[in-house]
Every structure is written in C-alpha cells, then in structure tokens.
C-alpha cells in the first residue's frame, strides 16, 4: 500500500497556481515595502506573474495533461482543466490591462489591487482542476473573498462600497447554502471525490435518497448564484453597476465563466446518475434567466446596469449547454463562454474609456456621436453588441447557434425557441446603444473617450478574437470538443 501522503513531485501539477498565488503575495508585500511604488511597476509585475503562471501551465501540461489524478485524487489536469486555466489566465491578464487607468486615478495602493486580482485568479485556476468538493469549495471561496474586496475597492466611494457590501452579504449566504448542500451530499454518498460520487450515486437506490436530493439542490443553488442565473441573480445589477468597471468586467467574464466550468464538472462528472432531474431544474432556471434578464434590460438607462441584466440572460443561454445532455451541448458551452469572455472584456473596456469619476458617462446619452469622435471604439463596440445579440460574423453567433442546436437535438426545442425569441428582444436594447453612437450628435456634456493605448490594445485583441471565433470557428470548436471530451 502506498503512503497516504502525496508524493512531493505531484505538487508540480499545481505549479501554475503556486506561481500565481505566491507572486500575488509577493506583490502585496512589495507594494507596502517600496516607498510610493509606481503604478506601472505594479501592473507590470502583475502581468509578469500571469506570464510566469502561463509558462508553468505550458510546462506541466505535458506531464500531467492526460487526466491523471494527483494529490489524493483531489486535483486533475485534463484538457478540460487546461482549457479553462488558459482562459482564466487570459481573463486575469485582460483585467490587469483594463484596470490600469482606474488604479492610476484612484488614491488607493496599486499593489493591493493587483494582488487581489492575482489571488482571485489563483482561486479560479484551482476551480478548473478541483476533483474533490473540498478543493472546489475552498478555491471558490478564495475567488469569492478576493472579489468581495475588489468590488468594494473604492472604499471611499459610496457606490463601490455598497457594491462590495451587497456582494459580500449575498455571496456569503450562497457559500453557506453551497456548503450545507455539500455536507448533505457527503452524508448521503460518503465521499467528496467526483468519480467516487458518480459511482455511489449510480448504486441502486442511492438516487432516491432524500438526503441526496436536498444536497444537490442546495449545491446547485449555491453555484447558480455564482453564475448569476435567475432567480439567484438579485445581487448582479447592483454589484455590476457599483463595482469599479474593470472589476465588473472580471466578475462578468472570468468569475462567471469559471463558475460554469465548476458547475459543469460537478454535475456532469459527479452526478450523472441524476442527470434527468438536474437537467429539468436547469431548464427552468435557463428559461427564467433568458426571459428575466432580457426583459429587465429593456428599460435600463445606465449602460453598466443594462450589461448586468444582459449577463443574467447570457447565463441562461449558457445553461442550455448543460440542459442538453449530449456531446454538442457540452462543448457548445465551452465555445460560447470562450467567446463571451472576450466580448465582455471588450464591451467593458469601451465603457471604461467613456466613464468619468463620480460615475458620469454611463448612460446611453453619453455614447452620442461616438462613431464620429472615435470611429474605432464605436466600430468595436458595434461588433461586441452584435456578438452579444448573436449575429454573424461573430463568435457570439456561432456559440448561440451550437447551443440552440444542442437543445433542439436533445428534445428541448421550446427552450431553443425561447432563446431565439429573447435574443430578438435583446436586439432592441443593444441597438438602442448603436443608434446613439451612429445616429445622434454629441453635445457639450458628452464625455470624450480617453486616450489610453493599453486599453485600446485590449479592445483590439478582444475584437480580433470575437471576429476570429465567428469567421473561422473550426480550430476553436476542435479545441472545445477536445476539452469537453476529456471529462468522462
């Protein structure tokens, strides 16, 4: 019998997480030790940390990438994990880049901000690989605790502080519910390992246990809160509006995508025996999110708030991939979220460039005449809005197409129809913004977009990715398929 303690060499599988986490701590300490540390230096260090982590990921992918279970089977590096880890690193790097202007303007220390971003990123990396509910819960908490502080980072500004407060209170409740669900699942199945859970739940009679039913429903509720699906979305509009915009982008893109990754892994890998039941529940949640998010977005005047409701709707679309119990659904979900991360970061980066202190520049009116004053920004935003609506030639279109196709194939035609109808509805509020940009004239009070090369670069990158995903989806589809197939 082997030793119960993991071989030290297995810790190497954690190299990307260790690198990002330790460099985050280092940044924290350097930030307070250095006198008046420069903002650019802090941002550079943060980007460097992401780079080191990416190199480490590249290095360990070959050794552990085959899906070998390491560290007492609590950690796995299959292609699914690699896919999400790469996406998390991209999202963290984008968040660092789009944060620069905000952090430089504020009176707060840059080291702390970037350190928190890196620690949230570490949590996300772990979430992609957890093969054990304990690891998954702790990594989720690591991400969440850092995000609460990030959302309230401008602690002397009332809106940011309120966002942090609301996010914390509701997030803490959701973690409590999630943990209670995990405790019941553990009690009924007797294990926290996903593969053993699947085996235990498949045993005759196990699926009928009421303890298990209560457990997975609570577990699902806690996770649906993190992905901001209706009816667990109440925190989303306030937090997304009040938080500093780069943080909003990070939450809307990174946090949401990786929570989906976790949700899919726990339920597809851990509880396939109950698929019929959780898929039914997810179908209801998906329908509610699509309708609620899109209808509520119609009446918004603040662009950030509109995007918050739209993100609820997108959680509904993404859930279609899980509802459809087929291979198409599982990789369509990955493809859709891949495209969603770039689109979301691009959109919010444009919002950042127009926004001013004290939250001016966030209404539809502030986008008047943008096409004339900043043609590139207006064109980029147009493409991102096309992608959010699901119109070619963008990644958003391809993603939605596959998701709807998967739903139809799995016999959920009414959900697909609902998805198409609500997408048509979303055309109204996305294109209201386009009309303001292209058809209206700027007035004296309209803010001029800032000249920030790094942000424009990030927007260009997102634009490129969105178009590439829409025009040549082939290689990306293959990537998503390989990732989805690696999960048994």
């Amino acid at each position: 019998m082997s030793s119960p303690f993991p071989a030290p060499a297995e810790l190497l599988a954690l190299a990307p997480e260790i690198a990002l986490g330790l460099l985050g701590c280092l940044l924290l300490v350097v930030g307070v030790l250095g006198r008046g540390a420069s903002h650019r230096l802090a941002a550079g260090l943060a980007l460097g940390a992401v780079g080191v982590s990416a190199v480490a990921l590249w290095a360990v992918a070959g050794e552990f990438g085959g899906g070998r279970l390491v560290l007492a089977a609590s950690f796995v590096l299959d292609r699914y994990a690699l896919f999400w880890k790469a996406l998390v690193l991209v999202a963290t790097a984008l968040a660092v880049v789009v944060s620069q202007r905000f952090v430089e303007e504020g009176r707060y220390r840059p080291g702390e901000y970037y350190a928190l971003l890196l620690l949230a990123g570490t949590g996300m990396l772990l979430m992609a690989s957890g093969h054990n509910l304990l690891v998954l819960w702790i990594s989720l908490e690591l991400m969440a605790l850092a995000s609460y502080v990030l959302a309230g980072y401008f602690r002397e500004e009332r809106r940011s502080q309120e966002a942090g407060l609301k996010y914390f209170v509701l997030g803490a409740v959701s973690s409590g519910i999630l943990l209670y669900g995990i405790s019941l699942v553990y009690g009924s199945l007797g294990t926290l390992r996903l593969d053993e859970m699947a085996a235990a739940a498949a045993a005759p009679g196990a699926a009928d246990s009421r303890l298990l039913a209560a457990g997975w429903i609570l577990l699902l509720s806690g996770l649906l809160f993190k992905v901001a699906a209706a009816p667990f979305h109440v925190w989303t509009p306030d937090v997304y509006t009040g938080a500093p915009t780069p943080v909003t982008a990070f939450l809307a893109a990174g946090s949401k995508a990786i929570s989906f990754a976790l949700l899919a892994r726990v339920f597809v890998q851990g509880l396939p025996a109950l698929a019929a039941e959780w898929q039914l529940l997810l179908a209801v949640v998906s329908a509610l999110s699509m309708v609620w998010g899109n209808v509520a977005a119609l009446t918004q005047r603040n662009v950030k708030r509109m995007l918050a409701y739209s993100s609820i709707a997108h959680a509904g679309y993404a859930l279609l991939g899980l509802v459809a119990a087929n291979r198409v659904g599982s990789w369509a979900l990955l493809f859709y979220l891949l495209s969603y991360v770039f689109v979301t970061f691009g959109t919010f980066a444009v919002v950042i460039l127009l926004e001013r202190r004290e939250y001016a520049g966030e209404t539809y009116q502030d986008y008047a005449g943008l096409a004339r004053r900043a043609p590139f920004l207006a064109a980029a935003l147009l493409v991102f809005l096309l992608a959010l609506t699901g119109i070619p030639p963008t990644g958003g279109f391809v993603g939605k197409l596959y998701l709807f196709a998967a739903a139809v194939q799995a016999g959920w035609a009414w959900l697909a129809v609902l998805g198409v109808l609500t997408s048509a509805l979303s055309l109204y509020y996305y294109f209201r913004l386009v009309v303001w940009m292209y058809q209206q004239e700027a007035t004296e009070t309209t803010p001029t977009p800032l000249a920030a090369p790094s942000l424009v670069g990030a927007i260009a990158l997102c634009l490129l990715a969105t178009l590439a995903l829409g025009i040549v989806p082939g290689p990306f589809v293959a990537l998503a398929q390989a990732a989805a197939l690696s999960v048994p």
């Binding site: 303690f5 280092l26 300490v29 930030g31 030790l33």
Partner: protein
Amino acid sequence: MESYVPILVSALLTALIVLGLLLAARLMRHRDSPLTDREPYECGNEPESYAHDHRFSVRYYMIAVLFVIFDVETIFLFPWAVLLDKLALFGLIEMVVFLAILVAGYVFVWRRGALDWA
C-alpha cells in the same frame, strides 16, 4: 418515549427550583430598593458612567479582524504537529511555506499601518 422521562422530571425540578428561589427573593428583599442596587457593581466604587453611553472605538474591530485571522490559522498547526514524525521533512517544508505566507500577511498588515493605534 419512556427514555425521555428523566429529562422531563429534571426539567420540572429545575423550573420549580427557579420559581421557588425567585419567590423567596421577592418575599425577603427590601420593598423600597435604594438606587445603588440597580447600578453596575464596580468593586464597590460608584460607576462613573454607563457602558451604554459609550461607543467602542472602531479601532477595536481592526484588532478583532487581525486576531481572528491569525488565531484561527493555528488550527492547521495542531494536526501537523501530531503527525510531524510521519510527515517528515516534506511536512516541515510545507509548514514553513504556510507560515511564510502568514508572515507575508503580517508584514503587509504591519507596514500598511493597521497595527498603529493612533
């Protein structure tokens, strides 16, 4: 159900004793109790003011936050200490890394000025 009878008996007895004591106290105490009876007892000195009139300084919360964090982390030291000889050198190194991260947090808190009272 029968096994709960002792609990019932004990609950009844407790209630009786409490009620009896309260009744006895009521019968024996002074009717017109002087004001000093209602004051908080501070080693026989007259209190200068009431606790409710003061708000505790918000700084205490800062200390509480830091205390909670560093105090609870010791929970990981106990199982490690029990198994130290089995964990051997690898375990020792792991704990050093864990403590180094805590120390990094401590340095941050210290240099950030969270420990300054003023």
